[in-house]
Structure formats: C-alpha cells, structure tokens
C-alpha cells in the first residue's frame, strides 16, 4: 500500500492548538503549508465527525484561516471604498454586524481568493481569508488599496478561530456566552463574553452547510486551549466531536461550497464558478469587473455541475470527464463519498451544453470510464427552522 499524498519535509506552520490535536491522537496532514488535523481516529474518525455535525455538533480548529482588517484612515467611507475596489460583492449593503460571502478577483476576473467580509463598525471591515493564500492575499490587499486612505492590518496571528457547527451548536455555545445567540441571523455576528473572554467576535457563519458559529479568541496557547476544552465540555451532552479537515471537506462538498484551488482559482472566472449572485456588477467598478463584462459577452465555455456516480467507483479531484463517445470534456474539481447521502458525489467543470440534470458524464477512474450523471446541487440542504431566520443564501 502506498498513499497518494506525498510526504512533506519543510517546516509547517502550526495553530495554537497543535499540541492539543496531537494529544487527542489526531492524524495530521500538510494543508496549504499548515500542520492540521485531518481526522481524530480515537473518537471515531472522519465519518463519525461528519455525522456529528449533521445531527449534533462538532468543533473545528480553523485558526489557519487568515484575517485582514481594513479601517478608514479618517476620510469617510475610505475603508468601504477599499473593500468595494478589491471584492466583488456590494459591501455598501452591509449593516454593522453583518457579513457576506465575496471574493477578491484578478483583473482577468479569476480568483485571488474567496472571503467572508464582516462589517465591524462604521468604516471598519474584517476579511476572513484562506490559509493557503494568506501571504498572497495580504500583499494583494495592501498593493491594491495603496491610493486609498485606509489602514490594512494582518490580524491572522491574533486569533484562534473555532467553528462550532451543527444543529446543536446554538445550545452548546449559549452555555458559554451571555450574548443572545438566538437573535443572530445567519451571516450576522455580535460581540459577547465567551468563557470569560470579553468582547469575543461571535459570527453565525460556517463552511459545513449546517447551522453554526465561528468565534475568534486571543491566539495565545493557554487561552486557545481553555476555550477549546470548554467547548468540548459544554458539548458532551450533545455528542460533540472534535472535527478535522477531512469532515470539513465532505461537509462543504455536500453543501456545494467552493474550495480555493479546486472550484475556484486564478484560472477560473466568476461566471464559470456559478457565483454570480455574490458578484454585484451594478455596484460600480472593482478589480476584475471589466474582464467579467468581456467574458459575459464572449460566452461561457464551461460550468460547474454536481455529479453523482451511477457506476461503482469514487470520482476524485482532477479525474478527467468525458462524454458518451469518449471525448474528454471536463475535469472533476472535488470528489468524495458523501457520508450523509451514502453516494459518491463530485463537482466538475463541463461544457454548458452538458449541464442539464440527468446528463451522463463519464469519469476516468484509473483504467475505467465510470458513468456518472448531472444532479441538482447543493447535494445536501439542511431543513430550515422557522425560528432561525435565514439571511443571504450561503454558497
């Protein structure tokens, strides 16, 4: 047996909870230069973690994510002008305490990264960015806001970020905070005391397709570990599990949330990725807009679709797709067994003419062409609770 993942020798970055993960017996992997837990076999492993999030609650260390704060330098609305310039969603629509999904684009209309933009104050924004693109993103933001009177701070190392996700997440976190979590709408946030830590940012966001919260606490090891343990302790009655990047990936895939380097990259534009509803062309100029206008006029050559395997076999990232006559027509961007659906699912780029539901697509799995078909996405959508108001749609 030989794993397809290649061993890595260079010095990896570590989150403040690295030692905690190792003590829990986590299997660690190199994720974008970070030494991260992929699963915790001792408490059940990937599938158990996935199911805990769908049916109860799970906690993820997502401190590898980066954070960029953009504040006005004195002039009114200068941070807003910066955010508007570098990201495709319309930040002028955000209220204080509200967040939205957006992306930073290259002038070509392709992706620098996807981001969650939080409006912290009058002219004060926090962009949460991906781990593997941190340095690139920070310099991109600095470079492209130079002429604008605003302050750009890299706060990536200031926070330990925990994602508490699942239908029981609210009940769990409510035990640790004085903030009224029930009134926070999806993609809104508040500040409250969590485990004695004052003014903690608590956002109703996540990357699992489930209800949940992300909290941002000081990044020293002692505080990080204290909060992590409090969350696990408070979740004991709800069947909480510590969850790794493996479950994070299967959860986000079922919910059809994009992963940088897979569904989105510097080679893929907004229309192809199907993220139109987060791209506000009418808001005025922003980096990438012109190219997107041209791309729209030229017409799309590929589109992202959901696939479900019909034949035996698991479609994996980068496997080739072909049509019935055997011509290569596309590629799988993410593929995995779906623990919730007990089916093998995938996302793939195919020609727009092949996106109709039921269209047969053949995935090259080693020596075999295995049949799949286009299915509706997201693969999984949680049942909406009447009590929890849903704000903007999630990806």
């Amino acid at each position: 047996m030989e794993s397809v993942t290649t061993p890595f020798i260079t010095e990896l970055q570590k989150t403040p909870l690295n030692a905690v993960h190792r003590r829990l017996g986590a299997k660690m992997v190199n994720f974008g230069g970070w030494d991260m837990p992929v699963e915790y076999p001792a408490s059940g492993g990937l599938v158990a973690e996935h199911k805990a999030v769908r049916t109860g609650v799970g906690v993820f260390d997502v401190s590898h994510m980066g954070d960029i704060r953009i504040r006005g330098g004195g002039g009114t609305g200068s941070a807003l002008a910066a955010v508007q310039h570098i990201s495709m969603n319309d930040a002028s629509k955000l209220s204080i305490g509200q967040a939205h999904y957006s992306a930073m684009l290259y002038p070509e209309g392709t992706f620098v990264d996807d981001v969650i933009v939080h409006r912290l104050g009058e002219d004060d924004y926090l962009l949460v960015i991906n781990a593997g693109t941190r340095e690139k993103d920070v310099s991109w933001v600095r470079e492209n806001t130079k002429g604008i009177d605003c302050l750009v701070e890299d706060l990536s190392d200031a926070y330990t970020q925990l994602a508490i996700q699942g239908p029981r997440a609210l009940e769990l976190l409510q035990k640790l905070t004085d903030a009224d979590l029930g009134i926070i709408k999806n993609y809104w946030f508040t500040h409250g005391t969590v485990s004695g830590l004052k003014s903690t940012l608590i956002a109703r966001t996540g990357y699992t397709g489930e209800d949940g919260f992300e909290i941002y606490v000081p990044s020293d090891a002692r505080t990080s570990e204290m909060v992590w343990n409090k969350v696990l302790e408070a979740g004991r009655g709800f069947g909480i599990l510590p969850c790794g990047l493996g479950a994070r990936n299967t959860l986000r895939l079922e919910a059809k949330m994009a992963l940088y380097g897979h569904e989105i990259s510097d080679k893929i534009n907004v229309w192809e990725a199907g993220l139109d509803r987060y791209c506000k062309m009418e808001k005025g100029d922003f980096i990438g807009r012109e190219a997107l206008l041209r791309a729209k006029a030229a017409g799309q050559t590929r589109a992202l679709v959901g696939l479900e395997m019909v034949d035996r076999g698991i479609a994996r990232d980068e496997y080739c797709c072909s049509n019935e006559s055997g011509e290569v027509i596309g590629v799988v961007t993410s593929g995995s067994p779906s623990p919730t659906l007990s089916k093998n699912i995938a996302l793939a780029y195919v020609p727009p003419a092949m996106t109709a539901l039921g269209t047969p697509i053949y995935v090259q799995i080693r020596a075999q062409k295995s049949k799949a078909q286009v299915v509706r996405t997201p693969f999984y959508k949680r049942a909406k609770k009447a009590a929890a108001p849903e704000a903007a749609a999630k990806v």
């Binding site: 047996m1 794993s3 993942t5 076999g313």
Partner: protein, 133 residues
C-alpha cells in the same frame, strides 16, 4: 493488533499468508489505520495475472486512494467479493476476514525475500517515529 507470526510483509504494508504455492494477500493493520474507514475496494478478476512490485488493486477511504502492490507474481484464483458490500472488514479484521485476493504463485520462494513479523514490527516502529518527529 498482533501481526500473525507466520505471515510475511512488504514495505508498502501488504501481508502474505503462504500455504504451499497459494498465497492470501491483504493490507496490514498499520495500513488500514493510516487509511481510515475503508469505503471502496477494487480487486483484480479471477484468472488475471499479478506481477511482483506492480499494483493490482486499490483500497479507498473517504479521504484517500491507496494502490495495492503485489508482493509476488502469480495468477489470481479468488477475490474477496464480500468486500464489495462490506469494505469495512479491512478495518475490523485486516489480517483475517479483510483479505483481498488469493494467488497461485509462479515462484513461492519470492515470499522468503519479504520481511518476517519481527522485521515488519521494527519497520513500522521506525515509520511511526519518523511521522511524529
């Protein structure tokens, strides 16, 4: 989990249980641990030939795909079809019910070149040390 004393092992973590010229082949407890919950197995057809050092099948977990290498050359006489519906047997009983194929070896003495149990245990101990270093 104990490694059966009468088996032989490869560096790629396959085991061989040789009886006469008939070899049962599987992956070791160490291998299934590394892989996680097995959800899919692809095995060669009965009658096909496998060649020492070449891949003959794959075992997949949710997260990873692993190629399985032939510890010796020969003809497949049986594949463990039970694994198609219950691949988790590879996790629960890797050295027994989770066997992959049975092979009529062309040259059974090939197997004596593989690690014995003590050598394999020392080998995986050194691997784990490397991983945690």
């Amino acid at each position: 989990m104990a490694y059966p004393a009468n088996y032989r092992y490869t560096k790629e973590h396959e085991w061989v249980d040789l009886k006469g010229d008939l070899a049962a082949i599987g992956i070791t407890d160490y291998a299934q641990h590394e892989l996680g919950d097995v959800v899919f197995v692809e095995l060669p057809k009965v009658g096909s030939k496998i060649e020492a050092g070449k891949t003959f099948g794959t075992v997949e977990s949710v997260k990873a795909v692993s190629d399985i290498y032939a510890p010796a050359s020969g003809e497949v006489v049986e594949a463990n079809e039970v694994l198609h519906n219950t691949p988790e047997k590879i996790n629960t009983d890797p050295h027994g019910a989770g066997w992959l194929i049975k092979v009529r070896l062309a040259n059974p003495s090939e197997v004596s070149g593989l690690m014995d149990t003590a050598a394999y245990e020392a080998y995986i101990a050194s691997q784990s040390k490397e991983a945690s270093a």
